[in-house]
Structures are given as structure tokens and as C-alpha cells.
């Protein structure tokens, strides 16, 4: 078969399609978004009726996938690392219920925080839930391991996690496909109480999960995902996991690595394979992308064994992603110096697009707030978070999706009245709605700026779950009709909009101002598609 040039994300998507997938469930988030988008665009996926529309958030995605697994079909769940925090309740408990149809959870980490709030390491969640975790080091492995993940999931009746990192997710390379497998037919688990986590059943399920742990570790050896490669120089042994293995190889081009190397791409790691490395070397260097998970385990609490080098002793920095140079230094090899970066270079932070509706929403809000003291705008995550930067300097927080409304309630209850919550439409339906119900029940003196640009702009313009339904949702949650205002964020409506903000800021209760204008990127794309359709219709 021909090689396909795919992003790591796309390799996972193709691997899942070829493994017999029936549904992908996801909420967008960099660097995981392209997995679902690839399946949405795939003709093969369409031909196989693979469900692929976006979920409202990561928790609903995870739960829907558990439902599909319960009914016997293969389901894939995709999210960025912080999405797993949102899905965590469902995720951790899915380890208890186990899977029926193959259930694979992809969590894409973002070390160095290229586009995230933190650099948490999803392998911890895998360990926490006590399920197998796979960590491919390249695009071919991403494809192969996705297929293997479904096999493993069905063999042991367990969810399996696939951990990606930005550099693999967003890097392209050639991959070779394997045969396409049949999709599963619908079937129910033989024990119809398997998914009922009442304490009495949960205790049994937990014992079942614990009993699988040794087999999980053994699988990592059988699959050759964890493999010891011999080396003559026993002064040091190297453990390299996931993408760190590539950075190690990069420093020995066309040569064999002189040290014994344990390549790890599957967890839990068997004690046996660690010991066979440990016993033959004088010291160990641990290279892993993310938190020092393997390293910490190896050191133990007392750390009294052989010398271990890694992130915890500053051989490698604790924060930030690895790269070939950092690994080279850790190996004690000479690192060439490049040219100095000229001092006149300036940073070039991302900006809201020219003509973006958020400019006008915050322009009006800023002006309406001039008569109050500063620091009143609790915000959320989306393109509008860029309004924290000059020239707007509008917002004072961005913590996690949905936190704007709830933080505004807390701040108002501490005396910050009025407090403003700034939130986008997609974030609102992701996890802002429940907070708004709290606000209504408490009659909190907050003003919510809900920016309805009809899309999920930040991640490239995916459908927004609440499209066309926002007023009904807001009124249904109990916000009073006269305090649900709709404005058109355009420069020429500026003065009117400022007045609307002023009126609602003065109201000591919950008000929601919907700033409604389509994202200009989505608009441009829609116009282009419309144009293209017209042309094909004409020809």
C-alpha cells in the first residue's frame, strides 16, 4: 500500500477507522482537534456510518462513548489534556465498569503550553484509573497503537488510554496502512449489571480491575512496545519513553547507541523489564516527555539505589518539552552553539483577527466600565481571552472553561459589585450553563457578556452546540426576560451598546448580554463554500 502523509492526530484517526470504529466523541482542543476532523472528512468513515459530530464537552463525549461500548461497538474519545479534567469522573469510573466494545481514550498533552493553561501529564490519569496507557513515539506507531489499543480494550474488557503530545499530534510523516477490520455488531455485555456501580457491584468490579494489573504489565512486553535494546557500554542505561526516544536516536545518526536502552511506549511497565536494565548498568538516565513519572517510580521515596538522572535532579529541566538539544546535553555530549538571536527581535503575540466581533464587544464593555474601579471582568477561554493583551486589556481571569460565571458569582459575593463574566457561546454550552443556574438561584449581581460568534473560534471554527438555542437556554434557566439583551457588536452600534452595558451593570441581579455577530473567519469560509457550490451548480 502507498504511504499516507499524515499528522500524528490523523494517523490515530485512520488507525481507529481501520480498527472498525463506530463512533468518535470529542470536544475540540489543541492539539487533539484534527483527530475528529479527519474522521468527519473521511469518505471511508462516511461509508461506514461512523458517528463523528462534536459533543458539548469532554464529559458528555466520554459518557456517550461508554454508552456505545456498553452496546458492543468500538468508540473513540478525543480531547486535549485539560479536557480530561472535565471528563475525569466518567473516565475514572469507566475503568471500574470496564468496556464491552473497544473503548479508547485519546488525551493530547501540550508540554511547553503552546496553547494551553498548563502542562499536566495524562499518564497520571491513566495510572490513577489503573488502565493501560499507550504512548507512541512516531506517526506509524500512532497508527499501529490505535489499532492495538482497540484489541487490548476488547481482550481485557477495559478502556485504554492513548497519550499524545503536541509534537507528535502536529507533525506529519508517511505511514503505511494495514487492512480494514469489520465494525462490531450491536451486543450487550453478558452481565447486564456490569455497568451498575452500586457499592456491592463496584467492589467486585474493583477486584476485577486489580486482578488485571499484572497482565497489563505483561502485555507491554508481549506487544514489544516496551523493549530492551542491548548496548555495550554499561556505565549508563537509558530509559526513553514516547517521543523522547526520537530525540535520543537523533543524537546517534547512523550509529548504534552504545548504551543499553529501554524504550517504553506502554504502561503499566513491568518490573521485570526495568530490572533487567537496572541490574546490568551503573547508572540510569530517564528521558520522558512530561512529568517525571517513570523516574519518580524508579527512585522510590528513599532514592538510595543506583544513580538516576532525569528531570528531578536537573539533568533535564522540570518544565517544558524536550528537544534533541536538551537530550544531547543530558547525554553529556558536546552541543554546538548557533548564532545569537539578535537583541532587536520583538515578540509577536497572537491577536484577535481584524474585524473580529470581540473587538467591538470589549470596546463597548471597556467604555461602560470606566466609571467603576478596575479588575471586574472574570473571563473564560476562547479567542476573546486575547483581549487580556494590549490594546484592549479587558479581562482579569482565565482559569478553566466555564469559570467566568461562577468566579463572577464568588467575586460578587465577596463584595465586587458589579462583577462581569465574559464567555463565548461554545464555552457557555460546554460548562457555563450550570454556573448560570447557580447565579439565578442566588440572584447574584453579575452581568454576563455572552459572545455568540456562532462558532468555536479558538480551535478553528467547529460547530457550536448551542447555536440558535441560546435565548431559550438562558430564559429556561430563569434569567428575567428584560435582562436578556441582544446587541450587535459593530463599531457603528458602539454608543448603543455602551448604554446597554451601563444599564445592566447598574442592575443588581443576573443579566445576560448576548453580543451576536459571526466570527469573520467562519463567515469567510461559509461564503467561499457557498461560492464554490454555486460555481459547480453552474458548470
Amino acid at each position: 500500500m502507498d504511504k499516507l502523509l499524515l499528522l500524528g492526530d490523523e494517523a490515530v484517526a485512520q488507525g481507529a477507522i481501520d480498527a472498525g470504529l463506530s463512533g468518535v466523541y470529542a470536544y475540540p482542543g489543541t492539539p487533539s482537534t484534527e483527530i475528529t476532523e479527519y474522521i468527519q472528512a473521511s469518505k471511508e468513515a462516511k461509508g461506514r456510518n461512523i458517528v463523528s459530530d462534536w459533543s458539548a464537552n469532554e464529559k458528555t463525549a466520554m459518557e456517550t462513548a461508554i454508552g456505545m461500548s456498553y452496546a458492543g461497538k468500538k468508540a473513540l474519545v478525543c480531547m486535549k489534556h485539560v479536557g480530561l479534567n472535565v471528563a475525569a469522573d466518567a473516565f475514572v469510573n469507566s475503568a471500574m465498569t470496564g468496556a464491552h466494545g473497544g473503548l479508547v481514550v485519546v488525551s493530547a498533552d501540550d508540554p511547553s503550553m503552546h496553547s494551553s493553561q498548563n502542562e499536566q501529564d495524562s499518564r497520571f490519569y491513566g495510572k490513577f484509573a489503573q488502565i493501560p496507557v499507550l504512548e507512541p513515539s512516531n506517526q506509524q506507531e500512532a497508527y499501529d497503537m490505535t489499532r492495538y489499543a482497540f484489541d487490548l480494550s476488547e481482550k481485557y474488557g477495559t478502556p485504554v488510554m492513548l497519550r499524545l503530545t503536541t509534537r507528535l499530534s502536529h507533525s506529519r510523516a508517511g505511514i503505511i496502512r494495514k487492512e480494514m477490520k469489520e465494525q462490531n455488531k450491536m451486543s450487550l455485555p453478558s452481565d447486564l449489571k456490569q455497568f451498575v456501580l452500586l457499592p456491592a457491584i463496584a467492589r467486585k468490579r474493583y477486584n476485577t480491575l486489580l486482578a488485571k494489573q499484572d497482565a497489563f504489565a505483561e502485555e507491554g512486553i508481549q506487544s514489544e512496545n516496551n523493549i530492551l535494546i542491548d548496548g555495550k557500554d554499561k556505565s549508563m542505561g537509558i530509559i526513553a519513553s514516547g517521543i523522547a526516544y526520537n530525540y535520543l536516536l537523533e543524537n546517534f545518526p547512523g550509529e548504534t547507541i552504545p548504551y543499553p536502552v529501554l524504550k517504553i511506549s506502554q504502561y503499566p511497565v513491568s518490573k521485570k523489564v526495568i530490572k533487567s536494565l537496572y541490574d546490568q548498568v551503573e547508572s540510569i538516565l530517564v528521558l520522558e516527555e512530561g512529568y517525571p513519572i517513570i523516574e519518580e517510580g524508579l527512585r522510590g521515596i528513599l532514592d538510595e539505589g543506583k544513580t538516576i538522572k532525569g528531570r528531578m535532579d536537573d539533568t533535564l529541566p522540570m518544565a517544558g518539552e524536550l528537544n534533541p538539544r536538551k537530550v544531547r546535553k543530558a547525554l553529556g555530549m558536546e552541543t554546538p552553539e548557533g548564532y545569537a538571536i539578535p537583541e532587536i527581535l520583538e515578540g509577536r503575540p497572537p491577536l484577535l483577527c481584524d474585524g473580529c466581533p470581540h473587538w467591538d464587544s470589549f470596546g463597548a464593555l471597556n467604555e461602560a466600565l470606566t466609571s467603576y474601579s478596575k479588575g471586574r471582568v472574570l473571563s473564560d477561554i476562547g479567542c476573546y481571552t486575547l483581549s487580556a493583551l494590549p490594546p484592549l486589556n479587558s479581562i482579569n481571569s482565565c482559569v478553566d472553561m466555564g469559570a467566568s460565571i461562577t468566579m463572577a458569582i464568588g467575586a460578587a459575593e465577596a463584595g465586587l459589585v458589579p462583577a462581569v463574566a465574559a464567555i463565548g457561546d461554545s464555552t457557555f454550552t460546554h460548562s457555563g450553563m450550570t454556573g448560570l443556574l447557580d447565579a439565578v438561584n442566588k440572584k447574584a449581581p453579575i452581568t454576563v457578556l455572552l459572545m455568540d460568534n456562532a462558532t468555536t473560534g479558538m480551535t478553528g471554527g467547529q460547530d457550536s452546540a448551542g447555536f440558535g438555542k441560546l435565548e431559550n437556554i438562558i430564559l429556561g434557566l430563569g434569567v428575567e426576560q428584560e435582562h436578556v439583551r441582544v446587541i450587535n457588536p459593530l463599531r457603528r452600534h458602539h454608543d448603543d451598546n455602551v448604554n446597554v452595558f451601563k444599564e445592566e451593570l447598574a442592575f443588581e441581579g443576573v443579566s445576560v448580554i448576548i453580543a451576536r455577530r459571526e466570527c469573520i473567519q467562519t463567515l469567510a469560509r461559509r461564503m467561499k463554500q457557498k461560492h464554490a457550490k454555486k460555481e459547480t451548480a453552474a458548470s
Partner: protein, 199 residues
């Protein structure tokens, strides 16, 4: 054969198109390839970069090591400075457009930027906007810069032409022609510069 290339520019300037063309050309010559892209946050007028690696042997890392890039191809002059540390000091070439993209208030003086570039032992700087306009559209400036880099990439010129036909073909013959001309104009610019430096 191995070329490690840093592509630099500002979001929306078309560096991923350059990457796709080089990638397609490399594949057509049976080479291996890895290309790390930047998605998300950095696309809105912020700085963007891509690591493109092509080789006749298997490629390990998705990222290029510091001080080992064979080339920096930049569609914006200040952005080329950002990756100076990546360039191989013994062999590396820098090819950059001289046309600034000023979307920050503290953008440095353009002459100062060029002075920094011209301190390097191996560089090509060109007025890509002007050359692109002469070929029909300033939008092809990224392809002009690519053309100027072609002499250093170790691939056949015709492979780039075929790649452009393949990639722009769906968009009509006019765009194919404009981009082929832009490629040629950039290519000629560098060939002239190299010929001059030989005498």
C-alpha cells in the same frame, strides 16, 4: 541527502503552503519526510514556524536540533531573526523576504533587521512582494521566497513545478501559472546572486 529546514513567518503568510510544496517535491523523489507544524493559538497574526526535514534515510526527531538547520526560509524579515540559533553556522543558508509585516507597535527599524541578516556568511534577501507583483499577484510572495530557496534544497527544479501543478491544479490554470512564474522569478534571483558572487 538530508535537509533540515526552518520555515518562518506570521500566521496567514502561507508558510504551510511552502512546506506542502517542498514536501510533495521531496516525496516525488522518493525521500522521507517529517514536518512539525504549529496549529492553534499562534495562527492569528502571531509568529509561526514549521520544522521540515527531508532525508534519504529514516528521520528520528520531529524537531530540528539547535545550530543544525541547513536552511531558514522566512517570508518576513524580523521572523527570520527568531531562529538564528537554529542555523548551522558552518553550512546554513538563510533566505528571507525583505518585506516587513508590521502588526506590532514596537516593530524594529527594518534597516537594523537587514543589517543583522547581512552579517551572516550565507544569505539571500529579496523584495518578494515586488517580484510577486510583477508576476501578477503579491499573494504569491511566499512562492517567490520558496523559489529563491530552491537552489539550496538539493531537489530537482521540475519536482517543484510538478508539486505546484498538483497542489494548485484544483484552483484553476491561472493560479498554477502565476505560482510557476513566481517560483521561477525567485529561483532566478538567487541564481543571479550566486553567479555574481562567483566572479
Amino acid at each position: 541527502m538530508k535537509k533540515d529546514i526552518i520555515l518562518a513567518g506570521v500566521g496567514g503568510q502561507g508558510i504551510l503552503t511552502i512546506a506542502t510544496i517542498i514536501g510533495t517535491a521531496a516525496l516525488s523523489e522518493g525521500l522521507q519526510l517529517k514536518q512539525a507544524e504549529v496549529h492553534g493559538m499562534s495562527q492569528r497574526g502571531g509568529d509561526v514556524q514549521s520544522h521540515l526535514r527531508i532525508s534519504s534515510d529514516p528521520i528520528a526527531s520531529d524537531l530540528i536540533a539547535e545550530a543544525s538547520a541547513d536552511m531558514i526560509i522566512s517570508v518576513e524579515p524580523m521572523e527570520s531573526l527568531r531562529y538564528f540559533n537554529m542555523l548551522n553556522t558552518e553550512t546554513g543558508w538563510l533566505v528571507s523576504s525583505m518585506n516587513p509585516f508590521k502588526n506590532i507597535s514596537n516593530y524594529p527599524v527594518v534597516e537594523d533587521i537587514l543589517t543583522e541578516i547581512w552579517k551572516l556568511p550565507r544569505y539571500v534577501t529579496l523584495d518578494a512582494d515586488k517580484i510577486a507583483k510583477e508576476q501578477g499577484t503579491v499573494k504569491a510572495a511566499n512562492i517567490v521566497v520558496l523559489g529563491a530557496a530552491v537552489p539550496f534544497l538539493g531537489l530537482k527544479y521540475s519536482s517543484f513545478e510538478d508539486a505546484i501543478r498538483k497542489i494548485f491544479g484544483r484552483k484553476g490554470t491561472y493560479l498554477v501559472e502565476v505560482n510557476l512564474n513566481a517560483l521561477k522569478a525567485g529561483y532566478d534571483f538567487t541564481q543571479e546572486k550566486l553567479a555574481k558572487s562567483k566572479v
